[in-house]
């Protein structure tokens, strides 16, 4: 790994100030499970001059409940999120998503904030310098996407425009199903944004001098039925081929409210509004679930090698909807 200036930040303000001073040439390090891979591969067009450690900022890893909001600090470890009794009890979808990430080793160091900000896993994007990379492409600001005509078996089937790399954050899918808000700190103070709006086709809305401080989950979501399903080739380590997180409100078996989010199918977490509309007001049945799954994928435009993802996605949506009624589904 090429070297850099290393700075321990002690407050959120200090971290943001440093980011501003380096004008985009510094990167934050939380758990490092993604950052160090990006640095070892020397994958970004510009190697960072500085790495700013945010683990030295106290208090950013807490999980607290107050004022009808469940608040999770950006530096909470995935292993702690997966184990937290509060999270397990109130937002099982998030606990399950956290437990599905990587391996126990990764979860013992990886943070929830870092998970949302991870770089894409597109193999053209990640091509390391020592093997002749970085490969220029749309996402890197130069040249067309290499995946469209290349090996795109794990790429987007929905909403791909210029770049077809999928958002691989499992935590983002779960948090979006919980309608979580992100608190972002910057030099001018804090702002709040929903998880769905945080993501953009080529990344996220963070400015060069901003960082994620915490996540807030409204208590109203916590009473809904929650479900997280992730299809991978191997159980540990592998990223999702498709994942689905759903929050479903039920009253006597009739769906009163729904949020259904698909992961790893689009450059951003994909909210399947058409599927939600299909099930709200309906008693949950095999038929309703199957129709909703068709609707969720109605606009799918697979690339040359990934049509198989459409069927997997439909199956997961169907199971997520059915499983939310006790006794139905797996």
């Amino acid at each position: 790994m090429r070297t850099f200036t290393h700075i321990n930040a002690h407050t959120v303000n200090e971290a943001c100030e440093l980011l501003g001073q380096y004008r985009g040439k510094a990167r934050l390090n939380a758990g490092g499970t993604d950052l160090l891979a990006m640095l070892k591969g020397d994958i970004w067009p510009e190697y960072p001059e500085a790495v700013i450690n945010v683990k030295t900022i106290p208090g950013l890893d807490s999980i607290t409940e107050n004022d009808n909001v469940l608040k999770i600090g950006a530096l909470a470890l995935l292993s702690d999120v997966a184990k937290s009794p509060t999270i397990k009890e109130k937002c099982g979808v998030l606990a399950k998503a956290a437990l599905s990430v990587g391996s126990p080793l990764i979860r013992n160091v990886a943070t929830i904030g870092g998970n949302l900000c991870q770089a894409p896993r597109c193999w053209y994007y990640r091509y390391p310098r020592r093997l002749g990379g970085p490969l220029p492409c749309l996402r890197k600001g130069t040249g067309p996407c290499l995946a469209v005509k290349g090996d795109n078996r794990y790429h987007a089937i929905l909403e791909g425009k210029g770049c077809f790399a999928v958002c691989t954050s499992d935590i983002a899918v779960a948090l979006a199903a919980l309608d979580a808000k992100i608190t972002i700190a910057g030099p001018k103070g804090e702002r709040s944004i929903s998880v769905v709006d945080f993501f953009q086709p080529l990344g996220n809305t963070l400015k060069i001098d901003e960082m994620i401080k915490d996540f807030q989950i409204p208590a109203t979501m916590l009473s809904m039925e929650q479900r997280f399903l992730k299809f991978t080739l191997r159980k540990p380590i592998d990223f999702a081929i498709v994942s689905v997180a759903a929050s479903i409100g039920l009253n006597n078996g009739v769906c009163t409210d729904a949020r259904i989010i698909l992961g790893a199918v689009a450059p951003m977490p994909f909210r399947a509004k058409a599927a939600e509309e299909k099930i709200v007001g309906q008693p949950i049945s095999d038929n309703v679930a199957a129709e909703a799954a068709e609707k969720a994928l109605a606009n799918a435009k697979p690339l040359s090698m990934n049509a198989y993802k459409v069927e997997i996605a439909k199956t997961l949506v169907r199971r997520a909807i059915k499983g939310s009624t006790a006794g139905l589904g797996e």
């Binding site: 290393h6 700075i7 321990n8 790495v51 450690n53 380590i237």
Partner: protein, 182 residues
Amino acid sequence: MEVKVNEQTRKKSEEDKHISLVINGNQYSLEVGYGSYQVKPSDTLAYTLRETLGLTGTKVSCDDGACGSCTVLMSSKAVPSCMILTVECAGKDITTIEGLGDPKTGTLDPLQQSFVDHTAFQCGFCTPGMIMSAKALLNENPHPTEEEIKEALSGNFCRCISHYQVLEAVLAASEKDGGDND
């Protein structure tokens, strides 16, 4: 602008010039710098253990967080030392495979002995990582079920398919530990 950053940087790195940490019960104070005896800001813990301190029991295979061969214990949790910067380990308590047995008598940790007794390795490259992950599990949960062992070791890959014997070795060690055996 450039100058301002450098000044700030110099001040900052001054502050963090030494990294104090405990490895296998020994206190180390490592100097940050660019000499061969020093720790570069970009050195991973795995690199420092092997190349700077000569503790080559910890192996590096993927160097990407994906195989577990570099597993060490940090504050008693199993972590991938290839994805951790040494300069961020100040104040940490680290145990490597060298820290398990008794260096004076050469007696192995019961878990290590159980790996030997069950020939729970072939080439042995993954073994230090397997043992460290299993050690973290047994410290927290002395009597794990088979499923719990599989889950705890799910980030440790073995190229030679030693997994079946590893499972037996860990199970046997956990039974012995509680005195359930004989």
